[in-house]
């Protein structure tokens, strides 16, 4: 029974990481109807922010080093949130009303982010900065002179192509200098050591040990969820977000700045993903491909929980986390050793992490046959609601 509880606890902590990530995804999906395929990569960025903060705190040692984790939580939220806002302003806004295309464009962003983390070096960063600056300057210069001409669009494109070329040359030049060409992270996995106060146990309930890490993750996501709930339901911007989610055109007519609402929501969603990534570093080593492992589970949470309902997201992610952990580890067999042979065979078949995903998917497809819009469907009169 103890084993069972510790598995449940494991499942709850995985589920709460999923919850953090899926909440961000679900809010954005509810508001704008777009799925951000780069969401997993925002988690990855959050994890790398934690790594950077840890490396920065390491030389200080002692008590200060122990405090790096709270700092990295805040920084991960801010950094990924800002990148999210940038992405929304530059790309997603251009694709408004075309959700499928947004899906593809964000996938492109995720590919670029993965490769960027793998191969980013000081030289590359400088080259990118040079390219972007040159691009903006060229675009400004050309715009001042030719903006009225019919061929301006093509000229502008040519300008940016030149800027990219200059950026590439700059990367190559900077690469000649040894210290600049060293990759910051490289393609390999990185490890973050949890601070001491999170390692070990946080006391006992009866005979069951409470592992600090898992409890911390569960508490963290509960807290953030409450904060999100409060923000959405009690704050002014939350009210606006809910209004736009319900009826974008009407909100626009009533003077709600929908474009700013979009930016803020996207930023918060991305920031939550960053915090989730921060929490993942506590569960094991992380690498550039971290996102892919979680994003599909997040999708399943959204499909199962329904859109625009935090309660559905909570239930779905905790359920999926527990199913994956309890069935995937094969604990059921050790707890109920004398179950019928047929059931035993089935459970053994699904008793790996990857096979438990298979089971979860079958479960979801069956579930959708009865409740096509998730656990808590949004009520509405529109045909497509």
């Amino acid at each position: 029974m103890e084993l069972f509880f510790s598995q449940i606890l494991d499942g709850l902590s995985i589920g709460s990481v999923l919850l953090l990530a899926a909440t961000g995804l679900a809010i954005v999906f509810g508001l704008m109807g777009v799925i951000n395929l780069a969401h997993g990569e925002f988690m990855m960025l959050g994890a790398y922010v934690t790594y950077v903060v840890q490396s920065a705190f390491k030389p200080m040692g002692g008590v200060i080093f122990e405090l790096y984790f709270p700092v990295s939580l805040v920084l991960a939220f801010i950094v990924t949130g800002l990148i999210g806002v940038l992405l929304e302003r530059t790309l997603i806004r251009k694709l408004y009303g075309r959700p499928l295309e947004t899906l593809l464009a964000t996938w492109g962003v995720s590919l670029i982010l993965i490769q960027l983390i793998r191969s980013v070096s000081t030289a590359m960063m400088l080259g990118i900065i040079v390219g972007v600056v040159v691009g903006f300057l060229l675009s400004k210069l050309l715009g001042a002179k030719f903006s009225e001409k019919p061929f301006f669009t093509y000229l502008n494109g040519l300008g940016w192509a030149v800027a990219i070329g200059i950026g590439l040359v700059a990367v190559n030049l900077f690469d000649q200098a040894r210290p600049l060409s060293k990759a910051w992270f490289g393609p390999r996995n990185i490890d973050v050591t949890a601070p001491k106060w999170l390692q070990g146990s946080w006391g006992m309930i009866g005979t069951i040990e409470l592992p600090g890490l898992r409890i911390f993750i569960i508490l963290l996501s509960a807290l953030l969820l409450l904060a999100t709930f409060w923000f959405l339901n009690k704050s002014v911007w939350g009210l606006r977000i809910r209004a736009v989610t319900q009826n974008r055109q009407m909100s626009n007519c009533l003077g709600i700045p929908t474009d700013r609402v979009d930016s803020i929501t996207f930023g918060i969603g991305s920031g939550l993903a960053g915090v989730a990534g921060c929490a993942i570093t506590l569960l094991g080593s992380v690498g550039p491909n971290l996102g892919a492992a979680y994003i599909v589970s997040c999708f399943m949470v959204i499909v199962l929980g329904g859109v625009g309902n935090l309660l559905g997201t909570v239930l779905a992610s905790l359920l999926l986390g527990i199913i994956q952990s309890v069935i995937g580890s094969g604990t059921l067999l050790t707890i109920f050793p004398d179950m019928p042979l047929a059931a035993k065979g089935v459970i053994e078949f699904f008793a790996t992490t990857s096979m438990s995903l298979v089971l979860v998917f079958i479960f979801i497809i069956v579930f959708l046959q009865f409740r096509p819009n998730g656990m808590f469907p949004q009520k509405g009169r529109s045909v497509d609601a």
Partner: protein
């Protein structure tokens, strides 16, 4: 002009059948064979995405199923690969001494030839029907197909006793008609087979996209609710078209497998399936010529970039996704047929602006 247009496909076919094999070395010819095999998948995706508006991110499932079907048959019928029990050697590594039951029918080449497209079609039909009957559409459909893909990937990856797991099934060392499948002679034949099957797939897609059935598909893409109010039930249309696309992907996967020499769970990776979509987007969706152009161009670009700078490919691919979606939503073929080139020249004052009514221009539906 009309006669010229009639002749173009035949000329292209003749070039692909006779001139390319003579002009290219074995390695390049094999690459082009693979591109044409992938073009069939692109056609299938165009059928469901470009015409019906269903963005499936899981076509890799059907692609890999076709590949596995042909690989299983080849492995079973190769004496040199058989272990002690007369079954493929890799089974011994996992202590399996009896052929799993579902391998049995793949002894028969006839069954395999049918299975290559019937099994993917059946899976696609079932999954499609279960999803469509609940009116799940749009982004929901996309992420469910992606989840399905992930599930199949894990299933084939994790079941070493059934499919040799991550290693996949190697076909290049198997034999067919007493010859090594990986040998250059055989590869030329596979190339010719692919070149002949691609126009067939094209005709199948044209059959489904023209006439009343095609009209219904386009109506589903443009406004499904309105179609439903008009008394149509979109579910059978969507299921059938998804099933056909699955069958085409299966055939494409089988052709690709015998030419690349291996089928592995990597064919069901998430990235590969999304890549398939971008071939269609680059070429031009909603047209039937576009996907073939797109699949060939993007994959050729891929091999060029990967040969020169392997790390750069992800950057290029990512940029390609963003570029095509934001700046070139009609793709290469759509850009040309919609007068993009003429507008380009007109902007520099070289050509005269096309005289069209702006509204008509906006609403023009790409017609093949």
């Amino acid at each position: 002009m009309k006669i010229f247009q009639r002749l173009v496909p035949w000329i292209l076919l003749a070039i692909a059948l006779f001139i390319l094999p003579a002009a290219l070395d074995d390695f390049r010819l094999n690459l082009f064979g693979r591109y044409f095999a992938l073009s069939i998948t692109a056609l299938a995706i165009d059928l469901i995405w470009g015409f019906t508006g269903l963005l499936s991110l899981g076509q890799g499932i059907f692609f890999a199923l076709g590949g596995y079907a042909v690989a299983m048959n080849l492995m079973l019928n190769t004496k040199s690969l058989a272990g002690g029990n007369g079954i493929p050697k890799f089974f011994e590594n996992y202590g399996v001494d009896q052929l799993p039951f579902f391998w049995q029918p793949f002894w028969s080449p006839v069954f395999t030839l049918i299975a290559i497209w019937v099994i993917p079609a059946a899976v696609a039909g079932l999954v499609g029907w279960l999803i469509f009957r609940n009116r799940i559409k749009g982004v929901y459909f996309s992420i469910i197909t992606q989840a399905a893909l992930m599930v199949f990937f894990h299933f084939f990856n994790g079941q070493q006793k059934l499919f040799d797991g991550t290693n996949g099934l190697k076909t290049s060392t198997t034999e067919l008609f007493g010859q090594l499948v990986g040998s250059p002679d055989m590869q030329v034949w596979f190339y010719r087979l692919t070149v002949l099957l691609l126009p067939l797939a094209f005709l199948v897609c044209r059959y489904f996209t023209s006439g009343r059935f095609g009209d219904a598909l386009i109506a589903i893409r443009d406004d499904e609710s309105r179609l439903r109010f008009a008394g149509f039930n979109p579910v059978p249309f969507k299921t059938i078209v998804f099933l056909v696309a699955g069958a085409l992907c299966g055939i494409s996967g089988a052709l690709y497998t015998i030419q690349s020499g291996i089928v592995s769970p990597q064919y069901m990776s998430i990235s590969f399936s999304i890549e398939m979509v971008i071939w269609v987007a680059v070429g031009g969706r909603g047209t039937l010529v576009g996907p073939i152009i797109g699949a060939t161009v993007v994959n050729y670009l891929r091999s060029l970039v990967s040969e020169a700078l392997p790390e750069a490919w992800l950057f290029v691919q990512g940029a390609l996704f963003i570029f095509v979606v934001v700046l070139m939503p009609d793709g290469i073929y759509g850009w040309i047929t919609k007068g993009g080139f003429r507008t380009f020249l007109a902007a520099f004052g070289i050509a005269k602006k096309a005289k069209t009514y702006p509204q008509l221009d906006k609403e023009a539906i790409p017609v093949d």
